[in-house]
Point group: C2
DNA sequence: TTTTATATTTAGGCAAGACTAAAAAAATAT
DNA sequence: ATATTTTTTTAGTCTTGCCTAAATATAAAA
């Protein structure tokens, strides 16, 4: 139905729309996809003709209903495959993204229906990201960044914002994963760093770490 | 490492080399891939430069060691994924080929290692075709076409030569699958047709059917 | 052996999806 | 309000993998 390149553009635009309101700019797409703005212009003009997004020259783009549906389906596939890789093949959560980038483009409705069932229709992927249902609807949860939590409050880790292998490996070293209980013992106003407790361990984390961990307060 | 198109060419040539001895002709490749001879010439020249096959103008091609390795690995992936689809996702054996055609191109050594383990390192795919090991070596078995079996002999179905959905569905209707015991009750010399027994049922099969079923004699 | 038919290759082109360089529009600064 | 910078688009190219049409080599027939 859609090419690999088209699917990747739609997915990137979908994520950008969720990161900030309003139209998505050509340069933002180019940067997020590690490609050139001129290449982006080419592609968004094609996608506009196919009614997957609306585009006015110099004014950025916005996905249409159809474009959202296609993008959400690619993301659904990506996240379901990540669950498969972790739950069934015992991959670690920092190893699955690149493989899922390929698997998300496999075309077969039936395959995804059956994979979903096989996995027990999971709601979240290994990084805590919600899996869109077959209509593209995302389950909303009230999660907050750890950086927004006050001193002496506690939360359970429910996801990561950044999911680079480096960050995930850092979390492993600190024994933090989805479901881990975190207590904020101290918070430094001037640089946003924190002292937290995880299990029996107490340690320092930077603002950068706190801003990339999602928690649910208890 | 290799493009999707390159992998598909290598795979097709690999199969053609196994179907008949000697060099593989441009036209044979074109026909098996449903493409034009001129396109084949283009590609085999590229593959020859990459030392994946040897090519002399007008004389056909032959895979090198490296070419065989690459092709066998694609086939290994194809067949492992077919096992996954049938064993884990409960697809029927006539539904898996098209999806495996896509999955066979996913690039990750680790993925295949783990998938293989997850599936219990199967030796054969759902159609009875052998799965190459990680070095590209195919397990040899002495299977024969049902059409070569004499009257009053018996065999166990161990594979199909053709694995089109139509043929597989015909076999289902006749309750024949891998492992099914078949007795040859009669054989018509002039058209190669047979009367066979499967379970309690006795029925007629054409030469075409008998020539596409592999059995192992008891 | 010469002619005819078939197989294969070459030449030239096209679409997708990328790129660089240059032009044009929009945003910012003076 | 004008000048400068930044963003975006256009123009022109490149590579991959395909195509058609024409040329050429090989195989088959006369
Ligand atoms: Mn991912
Ligand atoms: Mn994820
Ligand atoms: Mn197959
Ligand atoms: Mn098979």
């Amino acid at each position: 139905m859609f090419t690999l390149a088209e699917e990747n553009y739609l997915k990137a635009i979908f994520h950008l729309e969720h990161d900030s309101a309003g139209e998505v700019s050509t340069n933002a797409i180019a940067e997020s996809m590690d490609t050139r703005p001129s290449s982006v212009t080419d592609m968004i003009q094609k996608l506009a003709e196919k009614k997957l997004l609306t585009y006015k020259r110099y004014k950025g783009v916005k996905l249409t209903k159809e474009g959202i549906k296609v993008a959400a389906n690619v993301i659904r596939k990506h996240r379901l495959w990540e669950v498969f890789l972790v739950e069934k093949l015992n991959f670690h959560w920092d190893e699955v993204h690149e493989i899922a980038e390929q698997l998300e483009h496999i075309q077969s409705e039936e395959l995804i229906t059956r994979l979903d069932k096989f996995l027990g229709s999971p709601d979240f992927d290994p990084h805590g990201d919600p899996i869109p249902d077959k209509h593209g609807v995302l389950k909303r949860t009230e999660k907050r960044l750890l950086s927004e939590i006050e001193k002496n409050q506690q939360g359970v880790c429910v996801g990561v914002k950044e999911s680079s292998a480096e960050f995930l490996q850092y979390l492993d070293k600190k024994k933090i994963s989805i479901g881990t209980k975190i207590s904020v013992l101290g918070k430094e106003f001037f640089d946003g760093s924190m002292i937290i407790q995880v299990g029996a361990d107490q340690f320092f984390i930077s603002k950068m770490v706190a801003e990339n961990l999602f928690v649910q307060t208890l």
